[in-house]
Amino acid sequence: MSETPERYLRFPLIRRIEHWTMAISFTILAVTGLPQKYADLAISEASIRLMGGIEAVRIIHRVAAVVLALVGIWHVGYALWHWYVRRGALTMLPGKEDALNAWQALRYNLGRSDEPPRQGFYTFEEKIEYWALIWGTVVMVVTGFFLWNPITAARILPGSWIPAAKAAHGGEALLAVLAIIIWHLYHVLVRTFNRSMFTGYMTRKQMEHEHPLALHQPPPPKIDTEKLVRRKRNFWVGYGLIAAIWLVGLVWFVTSEQTASATVPPIQEIESFVPLTPTPVPVRSVDAAAAAARFGETWEAGVGAIFAERCADCHYPGGEAGLDLSAYDGALSGGDSGPAVVPGAPGISPVYLWLSISDHPGELTRLEEAAVWNWIEKGAVEE
């Protein structure tokens, strides 16, 4: 460092792998999650279709979530190693100087100051990004657990927390995605194209510009081997425990609950075909009783009155077709073409059949027809 090399190793390979694993899982989570939040948009529909349907989307989302959780275990281990074993500075912790740097940056941007803030290994912009990510991940993991395991959650907590978790999961997702675009992508792509997360290195010029204070940091103290061995042993015990708990929790998270039955059970077990037996066959007698009650079953009782009213205008003595329907004897004796009434056989009695000739002017009501049928069937008696 004292030789002022031309480039500085900012992110060793292992940190780049960590970043990109997280970036990819974050992107997949966003791409598979937002279409579910905004399910009614056409673009959501198209992207769900593209990813193979909603069930596939949900599986992808959950796989990406597990990857993110594993990155979390890794990151805690890395931070512990850096801080406890190597006694490295906790450069990501926010401090008073970050607030001052932010204020200075704003003054500089607005032209109130000629000097941009002089910042260390992590700028206040990067710290905002980092802690927003930590906050967001915690919120997403907790609310995601509620959504993944609603029945388990409702054993302990009120049921209303589950839809609330859904609201928070969606709100936080939107915030995270927009913050990444507005804040992170602006700073690493637009403001300057920062290659360090690809190559691992920053040029001296960039370091002077972005992280001048980091250039003058003393090298980490030399640790004697015996101490190092002891710390490493302690680290593996402690972190092993944390990681084991985390992993067991993750397995529980993923497998604890069969949220719902795979298929909706049939709503009702009903025999569909249950016919009323026997299938009713139309029977003629439906009006017979009513007709009998209204007109009786004899000429005198009322059937004669039907003929008198409906037929006798034409069929009077010496009238149409020589048929006299104004009196019982006339009706029974018939007309020019033979008998009109065949007692006992209404189906072949011409007086009845004539009514089916469409151009026959006389018409009977349904009840009157029934009465006439009834009367003939019963023998066409006078009284």
């Binding site: 704003l106 049921g159 209303s160 927390w161 928070a168 403001r191 009903i270 569909s272 004539w354």
Partner: protein
């Protein structure tokens, strides 16, 4: 008496019998009568009333005999009696249609032989005749489940006359209660359940014309049920036809947001995605009828309702067997989140409504000013 008939009908009958003999001869040896195939779909158009080959009176010469029956190979006997009074009072009778306008294959005596084995064969065969005039309904019917069952050889399945009657055909528009009663003939168990539901009760007890009958959900001619693919998935749309109708629901003070709130909640979001992305797949997510019931739908205020407060856990457990008493509260009960209903969701939504713009605004101030300054400095 004989003279009377001869004078009226002898000539046309002779003429038509002659026609029939000519047709028979043209059919050649092994004509249609000897074929074991089902009779072909009739292609004739209805004969105009003034050109019917024979009048009803000729038919009634024989068919007025109430004891006239046709024995069938199955051992059944089918009544061949026609009740003229009943026919005259049916919609076709009132309009003056003649027998042979439906019985188009009969134009004299003797009638052509038919190889009907059982009574159902006749009813099913006659459906084709209805299509001569009612072409659209018959086409719809052909796509429905009843016709499909018949095609598969299930002769119990309904043909036209099973619902509409034969000589007693009446328009269903004349009476809404006639619709479930027509279905009841075969589906009596479902009918009993329906009659006891909130819909059936209103129909039969209050003569309410707004409530759905069988055909409003299952369609009439092109009828479909749960065995039809997509019936379950798309069923919320069926319910929404009425339950999202502001004017209709206002009469009964029923929340019209039920459909939208369903779509916004867990089950409905997935169902609506399936409807659009994978309409040919079934989902295990609940639709309206899975919670509210189907034929047995009751008002949620009714203690017998599956969604009555004390019953809802049991309803949830049908799909979520491990659900505990807290679990039903995870459902927003068709309420949009507001301070009174779903307070916690409302609070979370409100928090993010403030937190997201506030955070982005602060970030935006830094980003915009930084961008501005870097451009200024460059220029």
């Amino acid at each position: 008496m004989r003279l009377f008939f001869k004078r009226l009908y002898f000539f046309p009958i002779l003429l038509l019998a002659g026609f029939w003999l000519v047709q028979l001869a043209a059919a050649g040896p092994g004509g249609p009568e000897t074929s074991s195939q089902p009779a072909p779909l009739l292609q004739t158009t209805p004969v105009p009333i003034d050109r019917v080959p024979m009048s009803d009176a000729a038919c009634l010469e024989c068919h007025a005999d109430q004891n006239m029956v046709l024995p069938l190979p199955s051992g059944e006997t089918v009544s061949l009696a026609v009740d003229r009074i009943l026919f005259r009072s049916s919609v076709h009778g009132r309009l003056g249609y003649a027998c042979v306008q439906c019985h188009t294959d009969i134009n004299g005596f003797p009638h052509p032989d038919r190889d009907f084995q059982e009574a159902r064969d006749i009813t099913i065969y006659m459906s084709q005749v209805c299509g001569d005039c009612h072409e659209g309904p018959l086409e719809e019917y052909a796509d429905g489940e009843h016709a499909l069952f018949i095609e598969e050889g299930n002769k119990e399945s309904a043909a036209c006359a099973d619902c509409h009657g034969a000589h007693t055909t009446e328009q269903f528009s004349a009476s809404r209660t006639a619709i479930p009663k027509a279905c009841q003939q075969c589906h009596s168990e479902i009918y009993d359940i329906y009659a006891d539901s909130v819909h059936g009760d209103a129909l039969f007890e209050e003569f309410n014309v707004d409530v759905p009958t069988c055909v409003d959900c299952h369609n009439h001619h092109g009828n479909e049920g749960p065995a039809v693919q997509g019936f379950h998935l798309f069923s919320p749309q069926v319910c929404a036809q009425c339950h999202a109708d502001e004017a209709l629901m206002a009469r009964y003070d029923i929340n019209t947001r039920v459909f939208d709130t369903f779509v916004a909640d867990f089950h409905g979001t997935t169902v609506s995605i399936f409807e659009r992305v994978a309409p040919d797949q079934e989902t295990n997510k609940a639709v309206c009828i899975d919670c509210h019931g189907v034929h047995n739908i009751k008002s949620p205020d009714n203690v017998e309702s599956t969604v009555f407060k004390q019953n809802i856990l049991v309803t949830c457990q049908r799909c979520h067997p491990d659900a505990t008493p807290n679990f039903p509260d995870s459902w927003l009960r068709h309420y949009d989140p507001d301070p009174q209903n779903n307070t916690l969701v409302f609070a979370v939504d409100l928090f993010y409504k403030i937190f997201i713009p506030a955070t982005l605004a602060i970030m935006g101030v830094f980003v915009v000013t930084d961008f501005w300054r870097s451009r200024i400095r460059k220029s």
